[in-house]
């Protein structure tokens, strides 16, 4: 519950309906899509303008109240769980696409716009905003920017950070910060735009973003390749890239994922295979057709047992449905799904998958691995039950081992979901002590009181690596 004086101040800024501290509102802002985490805020606010965000932040900094920015709460790193209480600031009322600029190929949006809404709006104009997290139906652009979300098209088109040209954001003290603009080139000082991307709500509240658009590809085509042997699949991935073909999507599913998806969706996946790759290319028709032919050839010569090219765009969608079904299928198998986000250089994918399976066996756990093979971003997914505390303990140990392995292979602890609360103990493994010091310095420069999303990214209890234990 909010102190009555503070509540009165907030109400005078936002109006009665947009300041809530009843139990119902607090409970329904105590979680996000990350399993096992929950904590109650003291209140929830719903600003609708930059000015209102500024006013709320001024009140918050005056009274040292934590502020947790929130889009749809779909993140997977417990980034919107208000561990230190305070206010959850829901950005979904700021949901206008302000401009689609066809001359400069940019879109200017408020942070609460759903990613898919933007896709639909720009595609109507023949334009394209490539970042496509699987959650795009619900995730907001503000959330995408704050997490630097990636998606299936990451390999060819990059991730959110490659499409943000400028930002308007409100600092902890209520000041407005503007970075970048509609410029494709801009080296005036430090790149604050990039700094805010992936900052997980700890540096500023994003109130507006100018995004880069590109022309909508003319056509797309997909193929699926089956493998008896994990290494053969990995060889195909490397060979495609070293042959200088950049498919827009290059997805991987391991044996267990194939089995589960097939049992659920019955779309004719080969359950006896070790792995399948799903590849999609887009662009001018001739290029797409030529690339698909070359990819088919590469897959066949690197050890695929079966390759099937979709004949039409619609058939291609059918092929990719396998990947989209993965989550639904896995989610139905056991009550709790813990989807992780370890990333390795793509040449180490086979090693990593093998290591994940070894760890799963060691701890006697059920793990299915799928992910973005093209950029080495794997999602080892634990199928478990939150109520089984003994099993959850094993899951946590297994995760530590998986991150350890990812780093050993030259990878990272998260490719697109962010550090948040869930991975804060492991951050130092990746960035080192110097990295932590610099990052904390940056945090202090933006938010000296530490009111913006406290408890996230940094932790007082870092984990020791096994070798140092």
């Amino acid at each position: 519950m909010l102190n009555s004086e503070i509540k009165a101040q907030l109400v005078s800024v936002l109006g009665d309906a947009h300041v809530r501290d009843d139990v119902e509102s607090r409970i329904t802002h105590s979680y996000d899509a990350t399993p096992l985490y929950q904590s109650m805020p003291d209140g929830v606010v719903f600003p609708s303008t930059t000015q209102e965000v500024q006013d709320v932040l001024r009140i918050a900094s005056k009274h040292h109240i934590p502020i947790v920015g929130r889009g749809s709460g779909s993140n997977l790193s417990a980034d919107t769980v208000p561990v230190a209480g305070g206010l959850v600031m829901v950005m979904t009322r700021m949901n206008q696409i302000l401009e689609i600029d066809k001359e400069n190929l940019t879109a200017t949006v408020q942070p609460g716009v759903y990613t898919q809404t933007l896709h639909e709006a720009v595609e109507k104009e023949g334009l394209f905003y490539p970042p496509d997290p699987s959650s795009m139906k619900i995730s907001t652009l503000g959330g995408n920017i704050a997490e630097c979300s990636g998606g299936l098209r990451g390999l060819k088109y990059g991730t959110t950070k490659d499409y943000v040209l400028g930002l308007e954001a409100v600092l902890a003290n209520g000041q407005v910060l503007r970075t970048g603009g509609k410029l494709y080139k801009d080296v005036a000082g430090y790149d604050l735009t990039k700094l805010l991307i992936g900052s997980e709500g700890t540096l500023a509240i994003i109130t507006e973003a100018t995004l880069k658009l590109i022309p909508l590809p003319e056509s797309r085509r997909a193929l699926v390749a089956h493998y008896h042997d994990l290494d053969a699949a990995a060889r195909t991935v490397s060979a495609i890239i070293s042959d200088r073909i950049l498919p827009c999507t290059l997805e991987f599913m391991d044996r267990k994922t194939i089995q589960v998806v097939e049992d659920y969706a019955r779309i004719g996946l080969p359950k006896e295979m070790e792995a399948i790759l799903l590849v999609e290319q887009d662009g001018p028709l001739e290029v797409v057709e030529r690339d698909m032919e070359r990819i088919r050839h590469i897959a066949e010569t690197t050890g695929a047992t079966h390759v099937e090219v979709a004949r039409t765009e619609a058939d291609g969608a059918q092929v990719m449905a396998a990947r989209r079904n993965a989550l639904s299928a896995l989610a139905r198998l056991r009550p709790t799904l813990i989807l992780e986000d370890a990333t390795v250089p793509r040449s180490r994918i086979a090693d990593m998958v093998r290591e994940i399976n070894r760890i799963a066996d060691e701890y006697n756990l059920q793990i299915c691995t799928f992910g973005h093979a093209g950029d080495g971003n794997l999602h080892p997914t634990f199928l478990t039950d939150a109520r089984d505390t003994e099993e959850i303990e094993r899951v946590e140990k297994a995760f530590a081992d998986i991150f350890e392995a990812a780093i050993r292979f030259g990878g990272t602890i998260t490719g697109e979901h962010g550090v948040g609360l869930a991975k804060a103990p492991f951050l130092e493994w990746k960035v080192g002590a110097a990295g932590i010091t610099v990052m904390k310095g940056i945090k202090h420069a933006f938010d000296p009181q530490g009111i913006l999303n406290p408890g996230k990214i940094f932790t007082d209890q870092p984990r020791l690596r096994k070798e140092n234990m």
Binding site: V23, Y31, A33, Y37, F46, G73, S74, I138, R332
Partner: protein
Amino acid sequence: MVQPVPAKPKKTDPAVVTPWNNLGRQLAHTLDEDELTNCMRCGFCLPACPTYRETGLEAASPRGRIALMKAAVDGWMTPDESFRNQMNFCLGCRACETACPADVRFGRLLEQSRAAIAEHAPITRYEKTMRHLFFQGLFPHRSRLRLVGALLALYQKSGLRWLVHRTGLARLLPPHLRQMDRVLPTASMQGVVERIGTHVPAHGKKRGRVGLLRGCIMDVAFADTNVNTARLLSAAGYEVVIPRSQTCCGALHAHSGEERQAHRLAKENIRTFREAGVDWVASNAGGCGAQLVEYSHLLQNEPKLAEDARWFAAHTRDISQLLAEGNPLPLRSVPKRVTYQHSCHLKNGMKVSQEPESLIRSIPDLTYMPLNKGEHCCGSAGIYNLTHPETSMHILDEKMNDVKETTADILVTTNPGCLLQMKLGIERSGLASHMQAVHLVDLLTESMEKGDDPHNQKEK
């Protein structure tokens, strides 16, 4: 868990015995914990939910409602007035189920919550009386419903309606009820059995024996549609039986928390249709059908009935499914523009969405006009338009904007509640002069019986 879960309220502490505390205890006891755990809080259901779209509030979303239920079960909160309001605010459209990757059966959780609320939450005497009147006194009793129907018919035919409107008495009613009164179909004393008996033989190659659920409101307000249903089934090769001893499906009871009554009705229907020796049980109302397929779940704790209940649920079909599988109907030309509004319970509960559309498309010379967001709830939702008029009318008006865009002459639905709501929507949006709402069955019948011969048409 970042915060320790508070201890569940102690059962023996007399100081905390309030109706709300009892409700909390009941929820902890009856809510399906697996279902609650299955929700992975991904939020995919949010954009599908009409009450979330209306309010933008997490608490009015499926994920939020589940979180509230779970909080009540885990002891994070004592359910209160706002908990009840939130459960009542839900339309029960189950669009969230269709959107959910984890297959969380929200409808069941909602029914369990409402049952606990009906039993434990404080309630005014007036509300209690009204509930009793409707759920025990009226719906299960065909003769009484018919009497109400007769009164309604009398009111409609006797000029009393005219008088009420002319004298301004109608102005005492809230506007949407006044409009509702204008679109109410002429109720009928004669239900389907009174008109065509309990048995209709099959035409052509025989496809099976079908037991028709005549429904309660359907058989009073839309008895013609029931008659047409039987005719279509017969034309498609089904022998139709309409057992007299069948009763209300219990959907309205289950959705309103009258769980025990729903059980009783389910048992009666299972016995009746089992005894009738049918291959299929057919429903022509999405709301009823979705309840029928839940019978096995409803009676899962009654081992003696389990097998019959499973049989019943597995053999329930929507009329559109049976027609799509039966002998081709002798359809004739209807040169109209037609659009289709899904019934939530047909689509999200029975998972039927293709068949009605392809039946409509199979009518010669008809132009099918797709309805943008046709899968969004129309806001009728049982008696929701009476309990939450404002939200219901707002959802309806949004829907009518999309309906207008189709420029259709005919708007087809598959459920009496939706049909009435669409008629109301047409009235409200000033489309009444050039658009009508009809049940799928009535459109097909019209095509079969009154449509032009397509060959003649073409020769013209």
